[in-house]
């Protein structure tokens, strides 16, 4: 009886800890974004944004929005898995046709909203004081983490996150890839 109570209590405590851990990941992601937004607001064409907090080893570099999905996040420089807890990372990738921008973010925090993305959705990216618009051309789910770059247009943007969105295993091979091309000024 006592043992049973002990087990129940231990399990309940464990549940609380796990729940708190999950909450912590979510809270860290949210809080970091608030600090990043504050720091990003001080960025201008002439000046890099200040570091969001003194010991950060990255800076906010761009603001990514998909209005229809209510997605609005600040992306970071330096694509490193360590930084994903705080926000999407933005990197420039050379492609056969020139260059594209690649954004990675966690499927369960900053890019959770991508689950509902649709072809034709408009994406905006504000970077160095410049606003660029993109339209989603293709959404694909890859079986492996490899993405061929041969069909990628110059100046395109690719959002990548893990897939499936609700999977428990954080190390699955599948990726959810949103491919969008820049809309010309016309």
């Amino acid at each position: 009886m006592n043992l049973r109570k002990l087990i129940a209590l231990a399990a309940a405590f464990g549940a609380c800890v796990c729940f708190a851990e999950a909450g912590y990941i979510g809270a860290k992601a949210e809080l970091a974004q608030m600090l990043l937004a504050r720091s990003f607001a001080q960025q201008s064409a002439a000046q890099l944004a200040p570091k969001p907090w003194p010991w950060a080893d990255f800076r906010p570099v761009a603001r990514l929005q998909i209005k229809r999905l209510g997605l609005d996040v600040i992306a970071l420089s330096d694509a490193s898995p360590r930084h994903l807890a705080f926000g999407p990372t933005l990197s420039r990738v050379s492609t056969p046709s020139g260059e594209m921008k690649l954004l990675n973010a966690h499927r369960d925090t900053h890019f959770a909203a991508l689950a509902n993305v649709a072809e034709g959705d408009q994406i905006t990216l504000r970077q160095s004081g410049e606003l660029r618009r993109y339209r989603v051309k293709t959404i694909l789910i890859t079986a492996t983490p490899n993405l061929a770059l041969n069909g990628v247009a110059d100046g395109a943007i690719v959002l990548s996150t893990c897939y499936p969105f609700n999977a428990v295993n954080p190390h699955g091979p599948q990726r959810f890839v949103v491919y969008a091309e820049a809309q010309s000024a016309r």
């Binding site: 087990i7 999950a22 499927r107 061929a148 041969n150 190390h171 091309e181």
Partner: protein, 632 residues
Amino acid sequence: MRWLLLLALTLATALRAQEPAAQMRFSGADGLVRSAAPAATQIDLTVTAMLVEGVVRQRFRNDTDQFVEAVWLQALPDDAAVHAFLVRIGERRIHSVVQPRVQAQQIYRNAVQAGQRAAIVEQTHANGFSTRVANVAPGEWVDVELKYSQVLRYQDGLFKLSFPLAVHSKTAQIRAGVCQSVAETGPDACSASNRAVDLSVHLMPSLPIKRIDSNTHDITVAYAGASMEVALKAGPVADDRDFELNWEPEPQSEPTAALMTEHKDGAYYALLMLVPPKQALESLNRELILVIDTSGSMYGDALSQAKAAAQDALTRLKPSDRFNVIRFSDASARLFESPLEASRERVDQALRYVDALDADGGTNMTDALGLSLRGEAPPGWLRQVVFATDGEVEQESVLLEMIERDLGAARLFPIGIGQAPNAAFLRRASERGRGAYLTVRNLDEVAAQLQTLFNKLDRPVLKDFTLKFPNSAEIYPSRLPDLYHGEPLLISAKLADNQGIVSAAGLLAGGRWERSLKLATPVHDAGIARLWARRKVTDLEDGLRQGGPVEAMQAEITALGLAHNLVTRYTSLVAVDEAPTRRADQSLALAALNTDAIALMATASAKPLWLCAAILLGLLALGVHWSGRTRA
């Protein structure tokens, strides 16, 4: 290049929408789409010095009693560039033409409006091309011909020619909204084994050959003057293993040079090949400056592998070599005030220094680069600056200017590590730095790839290489690189005529090296002109990225593309359907070349895992609690 993707997407969608499924596909008991495998494959390779021109011919028959869409994958060597193809179905001929992009787009639109489609040739992954032909009648034969160019590999003193006869890849493609892993739909469906493959090689080696053989197939070799004909001994074989042919040039004690020319459209094109001797010559003395990025993003595998490679490079220094180690993140620091000779104690000290490196802070490249280029190596030493970083390059032009200004006689080898190395910047930096660049996208390969680079850097054979042509010549690469052990150099030039003597010179460890080469009878269609044109396009594109006049360069690149059958950013390979009937029959296809793939980062936090665990534990608590109460 934008329209290429558009093409792939729209076309794939169009195919799906238009096809009455029953006509186009014949599904087996497993419900899979099956395609016919070629009944016969003929591969003819022509090798001139180090250039390979390949022709792949295939033929297959629709053995079903239905109209089918035929799909097959053709694997090609890794760096093959397709420059022409031809599809023959019954009386129709679909062949490729290179068109300026705008016209190609127009052809495409017309075809879509007319609701036509015929054949698609596209690059499915790094070295595979897939070809689809729709609406093949029962019993009908289809012939396909693909032409490609490639530069040969040279390794451990051997020239290696290979042709893959099976496709393996897991690279996914950007296609019409579906995941198409080639592994799922490719080889199993398309390359049913035991097709007969015949293969021949016409070899003009340009250097005397000591030995030629194949580890994979039984071959016969017939000599005809300076050239050789290689064939499969027992005729056509099954396509169960890759073909590989090796040959070894006669051993030489000095670098050997070979010169070949090609005549094309009124101009002469030359290819100069400089091959280092197989037996290592005495290497030039060198001054190695290792620059290691220790910013926070290098944390983990990237840094530990870079450290291992650096330590390996340090242990291989000769006592007469000189070296220094520089680390950088927000700030830079160096091991020694200036480069010092590599005594045992100093190397040990450097090993400990590298061992203690930790990843933290940001990436300030400007400082580190400045530090690494400071000063000059003493005469007789070749300074090699190896600069490894995973950082984003923010001030490209500042860095490039700095290289231009401060390089002196040094050579710069920039290395990009991680998911998004800026290859264009690395290439420019290496060209201005007169070195070579390396991108390592897969973190597991950092150590191995760096090792390969260091292996090469260990043994510089010849520096200050110069070439003098009798008349004006347009040479690429425009800055002649150094010659390293185990790595031949290929220099392309366009000449006004084919007369006279070319003199080559350079500096070996043992003194000056000089050769005179006679411009000889031109060969035909060896790919010499095409290689020259491809290099010139690369050069022009670099100019474009650096803000050169767009119109002028666009015109020049387009002209080169059209004259030499190249897919460039302004020209595309388009399939034209010459139908015997007089309908406005123009269908199209595309070939996207020069593919590249990246590994996408793992992007899932442990949040669902924790939530799941919380729920499970919660249920356990409730269950235990509840069961206790019911018993009581």
